[in-house]
Every structure is written in structure tokens, then in C-alpha cells.
């Protein structure tokens, strides 16, 4: 089953009522609008009436409205990055147990040394 992909390329402004009626019957109301109709003699006759105003292709399946919009939409030129969880790799980042041990160590040292022992404190992760 193949379909006609019909695009209204030229405006129907100032055309006879019959011509505008044919376009309305095809479902074309504004320029660059795309409609799909199954290949049939009836549909082909309607296209023949407005052949100067439309562009026609034969396609295998009708596209949805969203698909037609997607092929018209240009590439935005950017993409939004999302934060992703880091991969657990012991050779690069410390495991969770090592981090918790280091935090415990830091708390112990803080509680002990009140004075000038804070400087030079280093916790290796």
C-alpha cells in the first residue's frame, strides 16, 4: 500500500472557488502543509486539479504529524548534559568503605586537637 505525500507549495489565494474546494477536500489549508492519501484514481484526479500548487511524492507509509514536524525541525546545535553517577572503579576512585574510614579519622582528629593542630591536617582519600 503506497501513499501520496502531498505538500501545498503555492498559496491558493485568489484562485477560483473550485480550486480552493479541491484543496480543502484534500485537507490542505495552509502552505507547506503535508497530507497523505492512499494511491487511488480518485485522489490522483484531485491532485491533477491542483497540480500547479502542490508537490507530490509517492511514499510507502504515511508519517505522523510528529514525524513530519521532526523532519522540518533543524538541529538545535546544542544538547543538555545530565549528571550521571560515577562508575565504581577502585583503581581510580576510592571505595565507599575507604571514604567512610577517612571521614571517621577526620572526626577523631578534630575532637582531639582543639588548638593549632588543625593546620597541616591531611586526610588522604
Amino acid at each position: 500500500m503506497s501513499y501520496f505525500r502531498i505538500t501545498l507549495h503555492r498559496s491558493a489565494i485568489g484562485m477560483p472557488k473550485r480550486t480552493r474546494g479541491v484543496l480543502a477536500a484534500l485537507g490542505l489549508h495552509r502552505r507547506s502543509q503535508v497530507v497523505f492519501h492512499p494511491v487511488s484514481a480518485q485522489c490522483a484526479g484531485m491532485i491533477m486539479k491542483v497540480k500547479e500548487l502542490v508537490r507530490v511524492d509517492e511514499v510507502e507509509r504515511p508519517l505522523t504529524k510528529a514525524e513530519v514536524k521532526a523532519e522540518r525541525t533543524p538541529d538545535p546545535g546544542f544538547y543538555v548534559e545530565r549528571a550521571v553517577p560515577r562508575m565504581a572503579d577502585p583503581t581510580i576512585s576510592p571505595s565507599s568503605s575507604a571514604i567512610s574510614a577517612a571521614v571517621k579519622e577526620l572526626g577523631r582528629v578534630r575532637s582531639q586537637g582543639q588548638g593549632g593542630q588543625e593546620e597541616g591536617l591531611e586526610v588522604r582519600l
Binding site: 501520496f4 494511491v39 490522483a44 491533477m48 497540480k51 500547479e52 507530490v56 509517492e58
Partner: protein, 110 residues
Amino acid sequence: MFGPFRITSSLGGGLLWKIPWRLSPTQKLRQRRRLRAVDKVVETLSNALAKKGETLKSLERWKAEMPTEAEMLSKDKYTMFDRKEKRYRKGIHKLPKWTRVSQRVNPPGY
């Protein structure tokens, strides 16, 4: 000749449209493209219906009677018959809505 009440064609008659008597080369280029676009639509319809084994009277008639863009003489592409014109020809751009209607054939002998 001078002064506020001078008569010129636009002031005297009000509205004046000046249509050049011949098409410019770019207008002719676009005209050829439009002719080819219509040929392409007819060809698409014809191929699609032939695959289904259907025929269409208006399509058959168009293909029998109308020349394609390549078959047309430049005389017929850019000018059309008019009985009131000198030498019976005028530019096709004098035809109302000329970019959106088909005007391909002229009386034989003219």
C-alpha cells in the same frame, strides 16, 4: 510642464501599473522550473497509478495533449497567443495568476 498641477501618467490617471513587455532571464528560469515541477507531479501520479494498474482520464488526456517542458518551444514557454496584439503574441506574464496556472499550448499556426 512644471508646477504642482503637471500631468504625468501616474498623477493624471491615478493607478498605473507598468508591466514590462518581456520576461527577465530570471523570470524565465523560474518559469521553466515551474513547468518542470508540474511535469514531475504528472509523472509521479502516472507512475503510481500504473503500479496499481489504474488509469485516469484527465491524466491520459494531459499526457496526450500537453508537451513537457523539454518538448516545448521557447516561444510557447514565455509568450502566448492574443488576437489583439501585434503579431498575435504577448508575454505570458500578462496572463492573470500566470505563475499558478498552466498555459502550454497555443492555436496552431500562431
